[in-house]
Subunit: 359 residues, 2 copies
DNA sequence: AGTGTTTACTTTATCGATTTCTGTAACCTA
DNA sequence: TAGGTTACAGAAATCGATAAAGTAAACACT
């Protein structure tokens, strides 16, 4: 017997210190009722006399009984667990999404299982496997995967899931995120409007966000008849894990290659911050010599050495919308068709890009 | 039958798409073995012939079988779940602790359940309750509670737990954090050494960290025979949730009251950042008019408008040490006596406090 | 009075695993 | 050859709950 416990009768209203958790069986034995009756009381089943209900609830309070949610889940098939897989919670964007998500689902009785993929597709696949084994009700994934294998397995398994931030090509799934092409376009056009001609882009990895912001960048250049130059685009690994350093190094690379730009659009704010450091360290001025735009609109952007112009991704809204979809997926009998919620990014202009006075 | 499933025989090596998860029972039926045998194979029980073992493993791979961890936990009494309760993951300190903790325990097969108390003791108590019902193997708590009720219940329940960052008076528990008195002392003495005389403190809430940093502040003043003035100490609510604004308002309050300091030690970095904004907005210079020291040493501290002197709390180390203690608590038969791991904070000097040139 | 309906519980089966105990050959040993 | 081991597999009980079906008593109606 792994969890043995003597089924002795607990004296009324005295003993309050327990070593093992109280079970329904204990309460039932105490009151001379069956386990099922206790269970029904706790789930507000109508089938119970008022007097009995109160007797049970009284004892439940006395013993401070907590139902074993695992046992319950095993039989109901509902775990009230939601998994969240992100590259890292160190990046404030994901932390904010996590908070917003958590605060909505917690109110409905769900708990959040957090896993981080550290931007490694294999690790992500393992984490998803591990979470699936825990019978989650649903999963939220900001995937760093490039193939659809892990997620197709999820779908086969019948586990509902929602992608956030990053879409995956060739996968019809629920998605919540911002319009990243638009984000890239707005940022770049803003720089163009400030009179910049040689606009560099510190691009993100080969994910939908990285690619689309880059696409938006090209689109804006093209629209304004500015030549796209490979030499002004820098790729870095780990942009989400270690963005600041990646940004610094990217700028050093540009400057060393004599490919000096007059503006930089960085994939995210940490990279922009790194870029800021490298630019200032090189003795250049922001925005006079190089104008700078980031993406993410972190809380402290306005308080940086040079307040940073950035694209707001509405992280809290992403978390909330995701939570809504999740609850729908879980609670409706006929799950809705895969749908995308694409939020419009907003440009927040600060000093790092402002060459012309506002009119 | 809530989770009914026909026990049909799956044709070999063809059907790969499933709607319901595969169970041991399916594999057993497939191979003409008993469930127990499958279970033994999967747990490397010696009691199995090599030929059988391979037949089972082959089928397990074919069907991509994943054991139902809930069912397993129910009988073993081990869930391989660890709960983490923090005031918020928006604060980078907690995000960093969470990441470090997660990365250690994940490698050992544990998953992390995340809950945030939003700095509200009642919410914290509810979250702890909810997590306990999930039969966690252990709990990590950065508590915002002032009384010991919720945690005593935990102890009664036999759930191992570790406090981090904030201690609770009158509770003998495992604890991992920095020496906050020392943190307050170092920060304040540094300001004194820079020649500051009227040092304000934006203090944290009535938690061990808030109180101890304040104690350290008083200690340093006393040591250097500087009078402690109530008027230079500002208390704010929600210092961890909404620190930037609290910092801004605190400074405005000081300036409005004509209690203009020549230095400010802020409870944490977000508050320091808010303070920075208010000071600069008021047309004062940092550090010439007011020197500023924060606490937390966030990644971007060096890139703020005025690079911020701060106290490093070794968040990653806290996460890792906590993980070690957790694993000990869970895996050893005779849990060790409650012990505290107190790390020494380090002062990171940057421009915001540097009035005298470094020698 | 006889039959149907409620009301309030209980009994039995089940969820998907693990643990402990049994059972059966085959193989040794004296 | 009898008695004892060893190797391998299965049966039954269990974990702590819920679901579905069953039952006994009280009440209702014609």
């Amino acid at each position: 017997m792994p969890n043995s416990k003597p089924d002795f009768k607990i004296p009324h209203a005295t003993c309050i210190v327990f070593l093992m958790a109280v079970r329904m069986k204990d309460i039932a034995k105490d009151l001379g009722l069956s386990v099922v009756t206790i269970s029904k009381v706790l789930r507000n089943h109508p089938d119970i006399a008022e007097a009995t209900r109160e007797r049970v609830l009284k004892r439940v309070r006395e013993l401070d009984y907590q139902p074993n949610l695992m046992a319950r889940s095993l039989v109901t098939g509902r775990s009230y667990l939601i998994g969240l897989v992100v590259p890292t919670v160190l990046h404030p964007f994901f932390a904010e999404v996590a908070m917003a998500l958590s605060s909505v689902v917690t109110k409905r009785g769900y708990s959040l299982l957090l896993a981080s993929s550290e931007e490694q597709p294999e690790l992500e696949a393992r984490e998803i496997q591990q979470l699936m084994a825990r019978q989650l009700d649903a999963l939220v994934i900001a995937s760093c995967a490039t193939d659809t294998a892990a997620l197709e397995k999820l779908a086969r398994n019948g586990s509902p899931y929602v992608l956030i931030d990053r879409e995956i090509a060739g996968l019809a799934a629920h998605f919540v995120g911002v319009d990243d092409i638009e984000a890239g376009r707005i940022a770049t056009e803003h720089l163009i409007e400030q009179g910049c001609k040689r606009i560099a882009h510190l691009r993100g990895r080969d994910t939908s966000t990285g690619n689309k912001r880059h696409d938006g960048y090209r689109l804006a250049l093209h629209k304004h008849a500015i030549e796209y130059r490979e030499s002004l685009v820098v790729s870095s690994p780990w942009v989400d894990i270690d963005g600041i350093r990646q940004g610094t190094e990217a700028i050093r690379k540009l400057l060393a290659a004599d490919a000096v730009p007059d503006a930089v659009f960085a994939y995210n704010d940490p990279m922009a911050i790194g870029a800021m450091r490298a630019i200032l360290d090189a003795g250049l001025r922001i925005p006079e010599d190089i104008a700078l735009v980031g993406c993410g609109n972190l809380h402290y952007d306005g308080l940086l050495r040079v307040p940073l112009t950035s694209i707001d991704q509405h992280s809290a809204a992403i978390g909330e919308r995701t939570a809504q979809i999740l609850l729908q997926l879980i609670e409706s009998k006929t799950p809705p068709q895969p749908a995308s919620v694409i939020l419009s990014p907003s440009l927040i202009v600060r000093a790092s890009s402002q060459r012309k006075p506002t009119l």
